[in-house]
């Protein structure tokens, strides 16, 4: 991402901008930075406080630094249920996005590189799927899983998450433009089978698209709330978003959870901020 940015700064060097418009622009940026970062800063500071300081000390600055202690308490609370949730989320989102990426890339590649009867119909149906929002499917999915008695299982959240119509769309567009027919043909003449060509040649060329699909799907699954809310009853299967939601709605009855909730949030947002930079780096691909 750094390359386009530097060229972007270079490329506009015409007459120098007036001081007025430059400082106006920086003012807008500063106000927005404040708006976007202060809540996160507050969250971090709140996570370092013990229960007394949480309500009594200055909200935007540190009192006694209790972050480690809070995290230890969080880990011990109800036998480390929180970390079980984190693990579940990583499994749902990480493994789910990986499988989704593989299947979507295969499908997109086939749609781009082979002609077979019903190809366009298939693609249009998948495109229609992009416009069907995940939450609209949650209840219907529950009905399906309850027909086969599979609600409240790991698979009831995992399996629906590995379908990414948007990924197919991206993969098809990318495969069309970045995997040349000649290359596929050359591999064919060299005696490589179609499937081997895909895994050894095409996936290398399609890596940027696959990274994008993975990140999109990871974030989608990680943030999905309605599906686990409807499907799961067993706390041990919860992803972390659902777990924290349940804890937060119990705060009024059990006040000591409050400290846990804020430190828990802090844990998980630092976890995903590394993702966000990766996401913004790959944004150009989508």
């Amino acid at each position: 991402m750094s390359a386009p940015t530097t060229s972007a700064t270079k490329k506009h060097q015409g007459p120098r901008e007036s001081l007025f418009s430059r400082s106006g622009a920086m003012l807008v940026m500063a106000i927005c930075t404040f708006y976007f970062l202060v809540p996160i800063w507050w969250l971090f500071v709140a996570a370092t406080k013990d229960r007394g300081d949480f309500t009594s000390s200055a909200p935007l600055w540190f009192a006694d630094f209790n972050l480690i202690e809070n995290i230890v308490n969080l880990a011990n609370y109800r036998d480390g249920l929180f970390f079980q949730w984190m693990l579940n989320s990583i499994l749902y989102a990480g493994a789910g996005a990986a499988v989704a990426t593989l299947f979507a890339t295969m499908m997109g590649y086939a749609l781009a590189k082979y002609s077979f009867p019903g190809r366009e119909t298939l693609f249009n149906v998948v495109l229609g799927g992009v416009l069907v929002p995940a939450t609209a499917l949650a209840l219907p999915l529950f009905l399906v899983f309850s027909q086969v008695g599979a609600t409240n299982t790991f698979w009831s959240v995992f399996l629906p998450s590995i379908v990414s119509p948007f990924g197919v769309y991206l993969a098809r567009i990318y495969a069309t433009s970045s995997v040349p027919d000649e290359l596929v043909e050359a591999a064919r003449i060299d005696g490589s089978g179609e499937i081997r060509t895909f895994f050894t040649v095409a996936t290398r060329l399609m890596t940027p698209a696959m990274v994008t699909i993975f990140l999109f799907q990871f974030v989608t699954i990680w943030n999905n709330f309605f599906l686990p809310l409807i499907m799961l009853r067993d706390e041990k299967l919860f992803p972390v978003t659902l777990g924290l939601y349940i804890w937060n709605s119990q705060v009024n009855q059990i006040p000591e959870i409050r400290a846990y909730v804020s430190s828990a949030h802090c844990c998980r947002s630092s976890r995903s901020s590394s993702l966000s930079s990766a996401c913004s780096a790959s944004g150009a691909v989508g």
Partner: protein, 310 residues
């Protein structure tokens, strides 16, 4: 490919072309099947089948023999849909999220566009930092962001008690807009990145002529950049409209902070509470109507902007 001469008698070029394609397609049938089968099967199971089941369920109705008789599901035709159309709470919730969308989507996209244009202009230093700072909220999932803002709005715990003691952000009048603020906070950065990457794709030669003619940055942004990135803006608009109609996590969380958010506040909350009554058939009908509504609205936006672009 040696098979090209399989039909030597054929005189016309087109005929030579055809068998070649056909041969290729049949030869690779196994490979094509291998590539499309996993996705297609899963898509069928977890997209098509649920939609069919939902439509089927929405056509059933529960009948009882007397008040305490055993309930049986019988085919009811459009009984559930008649109920949907008479359900004031459902339409009130649709109107509520539409009102929300009419204000929130333009504000959010306007801000995202402004920030993307500023990042793309030579007026700003430290782009890398700002890009990350604005995108950071997107790393916080909706549920968590809602919990956090719930604390920030609270009259006692907020760092801004001077404001929150005076204005009741969680009261019935303002809570919808408080939720709008949470959604905006999370998604501005995400939309900004989509628009910004569209801006980076514009070749710089395009502005150079305008720059030499003395056009200001604002003029370049308005007359050159914005028309060129209309597709990206359309994409963000469609995703935002879908997101608005599906609003669930934020109001669901706010229910534990305030009683102003009822269980029929947004269409999805209503579906959830109807399904847990349980009145699955009516909830399925709500789902079908909401999905159709969403589909129609995003399709209209797509068509409308496409026609404008032509």
């Amino acid at each position: 490919m040696t098979t090209d001469i399989a039909t030597p008698a054929a005189p016309a070029k087109a005929v030579i072309q055809k068998p070649r394609l056909k041969k290729k397609a049949t030869k690779n049938r196994a490979a094509v099947l291998f590539f499309i089968a996993p996705f297609s099967v899963l898509f069928g199971l977890f997209y098509i089948v649920p939609i069919i089941v939902a439509i089927y369920q929405s056509l059933l109705t529960v009948e009882r023999d007397g008040t305490f008789g055993k309930p049986t599901e019988v085919f009811g035709g459009f009984v559930q849909y008649a109920r949907v159309f008479q359900d004031d709470a459902f339409w009130a919730s649709i109107l509520r999220v539409l009102g929300f969308g009419v204000v929130q989507v333009p504000v959010m996209l306007g801000l995202a566009l402004l920030l993307a244009l500023l990042l793309d202009s030579p007026l700003v230093r430290g782009k890398r930092f700002f890009r990350l700072a604005f995108f950071a909220p997107y790393a916080v999932p909706g549920v968590i962001a809602a919990v956090m803002w719930g604390f920030l709005y609270s009259p006692n715990l907020s760092p801004f008690t001077a404001i929150t003691k005076e204005i009741n952000f969680l009261g019935a009048d303002l809570v919808l807009w408080s939720i709008a603020n949470v959604v905006t906070w999370v998604f501005v950065g995400y939309n900004m990145i989509i628009i910004y990457s569209a801006l980076l794709a514009i070749p710089s030669e395009i502005y150079e002529a305008a720059r030499l003619d003395g056009a200001s940055q604002a003029r370049i942004a308005w007359s050159i950049k914005i028309p060129l990135i209309t597709p990206a803006i359309t994409l963000t608009a469609i995703f935002s409209i879908i997101g608005t109609l599906q609003l669930l996590a934020e109001p669901q969380v706010f229910k534990s902070f305030t009683s102003a958010v009822t269980s029929t506040f947004t269409p999805n909350l209503l579906i959830y509470s109807t399904a847990s009554v349980p009145n699955v058939n009516l909830a399925a009908a709500f789902s079908v109507v909401l999905a159709l509504f969403t589909f129609a609205l995003s399709f209209t936006v797509l068509k409308f902007t496409q026609r404008k672009a032509d």
